[in-house]
């Protein structure tokens, strides 16, 4: 009984810390033309991890709207261009800006801003202050998309 009480108190003390971490500021980046040339993390991502993020419908969400070279994935969306050949069409820097905040290039785009927390309305309570993907995850996705050559 007493142990359970302690668990509750410890959990309660940890919660504010958790939400503070969630509010952590995004890493700064510089836009050059239509690209973010430098990696958000300062180092290249992992293409294999990136592929898993792109295919994950709860995490990357990409295949809800895009299709791509994922023969094992059924039911790919067709709201947006295919990801096949993305690495031929765009540089890594161009891909990075289009994932981070495509609205900077086209304010009417349906593409969600994956690394923006400002200027959003009525974000679900648990997600306020959190980007859709972390800087590391975005670098992984950029590294993977860059391999999709046509």
């Amino acid at each position: 009984m007493r142990r359970r009480l302690w668990c509750v108190i410890v959990a309660a003390l940890c919660l504010p810390g958790a939400s503070l971490r969630a509010q952590e500021a995004l890493r700064p980046y510089a836009v050059t033309g239509d690209a973010i040339t430098a990696a958000l993390t300062g180092q290249a991502g992992d293409a294999m991890r990136g592929r898993a993020i792109v295919a994950n419908r709860q995490l990357g969400l990409c295949l809800l709207c895009h299709s791509g070279p994922f023969p094992e994935e059924r039911f790919q969306g067709n709201l947006a261009p295919s990801l096949a050949g993305a690495g031929s069409r765009w540089s890594e820097g161009q891909l990075r800006l289009r994932i981070v905040d495509a609205g900077r290039l086209n304010p009417d785009t349906i593409m969600p801003p994956y690394y923006r927390i400002q200027g959003l309305d009525r974000v679900a309570r648990g997600l306020v202050g959190k980007p859709i993907l972390s800087a590391e995850q975005i670098e992984d996705v950029v590294a993977f998309l860059a391999t999709l050559k046509e």
Partner: protein, 257 residues
Amino acid sequence: MSKTLIAVLCVGSTIGVSIALAQRADTRRSGYQDMSKSVQSMQDDDTANPAMLWVRDGAALWTRRVGAADKACADCHGGVESMADVAARYPAFDAGLGRPVDLEQRINLCRRDHQQAEALAGESRDLLALTAYVARQSRGKPIAPSDDPRLRPSIDAGAALFKQRQGQLNLSCAQCHDDNDSRKLGSATIPQGHPTAYPIYRLEWQGLGSLKRRLRNCLVGMRAEPYAYDSPEYVQLELFLMQRARGMPLESPGVRP
């Protein structure tokens, strides 16, 4: 020279007329038209449509006396045929509250004012059953929203909400249901979002639910904070959606994937 000009003008006006005709053609689609044949036939056959279980419950509730007034719906309204066009024109303006109310809220106002009974909880079996029973009476009738001018501010608010980007994914209703309808979002065909069949039996829910519940599903998908169950935004959206679907036949209670 002038012959060429006349020819150009003729071709031009023919194109103009055909464009005008094409624009006039009704391209609206009920979600029914995007469903598989098997789900369509489930809706079409009353003995296979699971929503009819709620309709049957609603029929029993219609004549059950409740509340301090010991009155049934039937004691005031008579036969349910009196509800023939109600679901096709709701939400309606309630003078007492000074705001529009949806069908569920109307049923609860009747309970409070005439039956002196407790309000039924949103999405509860009894409220859905009564709503389905009443809405069933409008099946096949064209959606005919009220032209009560007092509804105008709420309809406009609903139209603005429909276009407002929301949530972590920064999406608006219109981006999917106006700009990308009939395309595939993952496995799902995006419907135009007409409220033609509520309350619906949604296979994903394994149960009956209101338009409000469906709107909340979309808001959660956009990673937006859903409005509280009794907030005016749902009625505003419904008012706008009913205007947008004006003239489309009501299928209630429908089945959806």
